[in-house]
């Protein structure tokens, strides 16, 4: 081109600054990453909570439910009885209050029951047969995951109903029975066989009889622990689990009007609240103080609201017909209760012992290789007992005894059983670093206080077994889901794309997130500082 072709006073073509690769200035570069949200990190069932909330936020409840049930087949149950450690870890508590994860889980679970969503059957069958012993949360969870992996699963359950402790240990006012029925039925619909009233008394024999390739034991722990209390012949002393179990039957337990419940765990609270609903006057006797009690504080609070009496720092010395003698205790320097020599008598028609439960290990008699310690079966990191092919989980192995832990055991065991059946070992994928609160830029989240679930009127709570805690409706469940900060995981807010002074962020389109154009990224770090959820970090350049 000659000079004459150009406009007046122009001698050079304008060039684009794209020729100037400013990326070469960089000493640090931003990278996108997924961090592990604290809710996920603490979930005993290994749920991807942030993942399913992401779908719930856009109102796609079915996708949310399907994402949730990748890890946990019992959301409607879990949304009622899980002690939600996730909410205790939720980063939003440092902004206003934790996201009501548990209430959204329940909403999704109830929605699934209402809309009759079913699990997708596996495309192929492995031909392997697995026996699951016990239809409690752990057994149901293992069966569900094994069935999804294409194995043929039969659950053998000693009791007349499926559900295990969810049915015989958790009162109706916390977990309506139709909810258990619906979620169990969905697992049956997936292809799992549940054989009720079938007590496995010898695991090897049962495996041989049914030609099973592997077994998962989850018989739970429901033999009430006894404590030695000098008792007159006419004194009525029963254990908490049998009381709760008999609530399920036609004949309600005969405990009298004044019922003393001995213990400070959740079972003690459950019994006290249940007998209150039957018209009795329960008194909990516990040897330590409220803050030392193993029961969850909200349960103690709800019990006190309902008129349950508690004698803290007290032990039962003697039980006679119609009355008991208790001794006052005092905490020593180390926080242990010590007797004071001060006694008191209480009118009591019966004493219910809620002192913990033991495992019935009868089915393992004579099985070689097993290691039983402190009344529980020892398992390896892969949930397998000392006997090849026999796995165990839930309350019968050493762990915290909750429904959620049981569900988590079932999933974990299922993965290892699946690998074992294929002659492989299962290695869980490495965990991402936790998305701590300091990684977030909470400026960007707008103010949104927590939605409180409706609580049943106190008079109805004292007299009926109606569910105490209500559910969310669609509008407030959506609101609650949208309170999620999406810690550590991109939710496509476009901030990085918008705030880059160098146009060095490429928007890849809905669902595809973003990438960096390292030709021009100068490594200023504005994107990292302004990412609300901590899904970008700076790393040093290699040279």
């Amino acid at each position: 081109m000659t000079m004459m072709d150009k406009p007046f006073a122009i001698t050079l073509d304008p060039g684009s600054s794209l020729a100037n690769r400013t990326g070469s200035w960089r000493t640090y570069k931003p990278i996108y990453l997924d961090r592990l949200p604290p809710c996920n990190a603490t979930c005993p069932a290994g749920e991807n909570i942030q993942g399913w909330l992401f779908h719930a936020e856009s109102g796609d409840y079915e996708a949310a439910w399907r994402s949730l049930t990748e890890n946990n087949p019992l959301p409607a149950i879990m949304g009622r009885v899980c002690y939600h450690p996730c909410e205790g870890a939720c980063n939003r508590q440092h902004v206003d209050s934790a996201v009501g994860i548990n209430s959204i889980e329940r909403f999704l679970g109830d929605e699934a029951i209402k809309r009759n969503w079913q699990f997708v059957k596996p495309a192929t069958q492995s031909g392997k047969r697995v026996l699951v012993v016990g239809a409690g949360p752990s057994g149901l969870s293992a069966a569900y995951h094994l069935a999804r992996l294409g194995h043929t699963v039969e659950i053998q359950e000693a009791g007349p109903f499926a559900g295990g402790m969810m049915r015989f240990g958790i009162p109706k006012y916390r977990l309506p029975r139709e909810v258990i029925e619906a979620e169990v039925q969905r697992i049956v619909n997936l292809g799992v066989t549940i054989t009720l009233n079938t007590k496995v008394s010898n695991i090897e024999a049962s495996m041989q009889a049914g030609k099973f390739d592997a077994a998962f034991l989850a018989v739970g722990a429901h033999i009430g622990k006894r404590a030695y209390i000098p008792a007159g012949t006419a004194a009525k002393v029963v254990d908490a689990i049998s009381v709760l179990r008999s609530m399920e039957g036609e004949e309600k337990p005969m405990l009298g009007r004044r019922v003393v419940v001995y213990g400070g765990g959740n079972t003690a609270i459950d019994v006290a609240r249940s007998v209150k609903r039957m018209g009795a006057e329960p008194i909990i006797v516990y040897r330590r103080t409220r803050d030392k009690a193993p029961a969850h504080d909200f349960e103690i609070e709800e019990a006190l609201q309902e008129g349950v009496m508690v004698k803290w720092l007290s032990t039962i010395k003697q039980a006679e017909e119609g009355e008991i003698t208790i001794e006052k205790m005092a905490l020593d320097d180390k926080g242990f209760p010590q007797p004071t020599g001060e006694f008191e008598t209480l009118a009591a028609d019966s004493v219910v012992l809620a002192l913990g439960q033991d495992v019935d290990l009868g089915l393992l008699d004579g099985v070689p290789g097993l290691d039983v310690k402190d009344g529980t079966v020892q398992v390896g990191p892969n949930m397998m007992t000392g006997h090849a092919g026999i796995f165990a989980g839930g309350d019968m192995v050493p762990s915290e005894r909750t429904v959620t832990v049981g569900v988590g055991h079932g999933k974990k065991a299922a993965r290892h059983i699946d690998a074992w059946l294929k002659g492989e070992t299962y290695a869980p994928p490495p965990k991402h670093e936790v998305a701590a609160f300091e990684k977030l830029n909470t400026w960007y989240y707008s103010e949104a206080p927590h939605v409180v679930r409706p609580t049943l009127d106190i008079l109805r709570r004292q007299s009926t077994f109606e569910e105490v805690v209500g559910g969310l409706d669609e509008s407030n469940a959506l609101f609650e889901a949208r309170r999620c900060l999406s810690c550590g995981n991109c939710f496509e807010c476009d901030n990085c794309y918008g705030v880059c002074p160098d146009n060095a962020v490429i928007k890849l389109g809905p669902g595809k997130r973003f990438s960096f154009n390292y030709d021009y990224c100068k490594g200023c770090g504005v994107c990292v500082a302004e990412c609300p959820c901590g899904a970008i970090k700076m790393v040093p350049e290699e040279n």
Binding site: L12, S16, W443, A448, D494, G498, N517, K522
Partner: protein, 336 residues
């Protein structure tokens, strides 16, 4: 309010986009098809607030005028880093003026376009923007700017205020805040840093001209900034937008903290964000979480002399008083 905030879809309107918002409710910057008026490869420092502010503002103006825009640009950082001959980062018709005459150049362009429009009334109309830094606006180009205002020429003038002549080595301008250290207001002597009682706040002077539209904005409130550019383009005559653009080099802040500094300037009341029509204030962007001025001053090395072994509480109190006066004057706690 200059824009209607979305109350709550996880982040409301605080983020640039938001997948839960309808596309028309997202910002211009959230769009994959935004103009990128100032493109990659420019030579601005890492974390440059001015480069960001210019893209925010000009992209919004391009959107509002369907790309029918001419921009005159004063000498200064923005021009130097975007257009080292023969390269340019500008993807719009753009003309470089002298340091002091960009308002006059834009006036001329607008006059020429008016004649062209008269000759060819069916041609799509083209709008004019003049832009410059605080040096080119509040000091060197102030005569031309005031002339443009009083004649009510049909130009939107945008000033990117980073509080000094940063490109030539951080010298003081009449927009440098009191107590700030620059190369010409050293942190020495009994009253270190820039002098109290000097300088000017051009948005207030623009308002005194009673031009149709005056607004301030920061790079920390994108939605507000875009709404103000859009609003400005709805008016005819002289309009003025003054955008606070933190400068990591001149302020002595981390390059990653550019937006944070702008946010702190607004949240402490140091920089009032408001809009005015025909000389009267119409709205102010309310402080969301009020903070003491120390939170804004401390991260900046230009104020480091206030935070030695013995913090200079007297000077900090004077700066707090300036912020408090802004809060009172512009009703920044309640918003208007």
């Amino acid at each position: 309010m200059s824009f209607q905030p979305v109350k709550f879809y996880q982040t409301g309107t605080f983020t640039v986009g938001n997948r839960l918002l309808a596309p028309e409710e997202r910002s211009v910057q959230a769009s994959g098809k935004r103009f990128n008026s100032i493109n990659s490869g420019h030579r601005a420092c890492q974390g440059c607030g001015e480069a960001l502010g210019a893209r925010y503002a000009i992209d919004a103006a391009m959107e509002a005028t369907q790309g029918q825009l001419i921009c005159a640009n004063a000498t200064g950082c923005l021009e130097v880093f975007s257009t080292p001959y023969p390269e340019t980062s500008w993807q719009i018709p753009w003309i470089h003026s002298l340091f002091g005459n960009t308002a006059a150049v834009a006036t001329g362009v607008a006059a020429a376009l008016k004649i062209k429009q008269k000759k060819n009334p069916r041609a799509q109309e083209i709008r004019v923007i003049a832009q410059g830094g605080d040096g080119g606006t509040t000091d060197i180009g102030f005569g031309c700017l005031s002339g443009m205002f009083e004649r009510n020429d049909d130009v939107l003038y945008i000033c990117y205020d980073n509080g000094g002549y940063m490109n030539t080595g951080v010298q003081r301008s009449s927009a440098t805040p009191p107590a700030a250290r620059t190369a010409t207001t050293m942190a020495v002597g009994p009253e270190p840093g820039n002098v109290f009682g000097q300088g000017k706040f051009v948005p207030a002077i623009a308002m005194a001209h009673e031009i149709p539209y005056v607004a301030t904005a920061t790079v920390a409130d994108l939605r507000d900034l875009e709404a103000k550019v859009r609003r400005a383009m709805e008016f005819r005559g002289a309009r003025y937008i003054h955008i606070l653009v933190p400068c990591p080099l001149g302020w002595g802040t981390y390059s990653s903290e550019t937006i944070k500094m702008a946010r702190l300037a607004k949240e402490t009341g140091i920089f009032p964000v408001f809009e005015a029509e025909h000389g009267e204030i119409k709205s102010a962007l309310a402080i969301r979480r009020q903070l003491p001025v120390e939170d804004y001053l401390k991260p900046q090395k230009r104020y480091a002399h206030l935070f030695g072994k013995q913090p200079n509480v007297a000077v900090i109190a004077k700066l707090q008083a300036l912020a408090d006066r802004n809060i009172r004057k512009y009703k920044l706690l309640e918003g208007v």
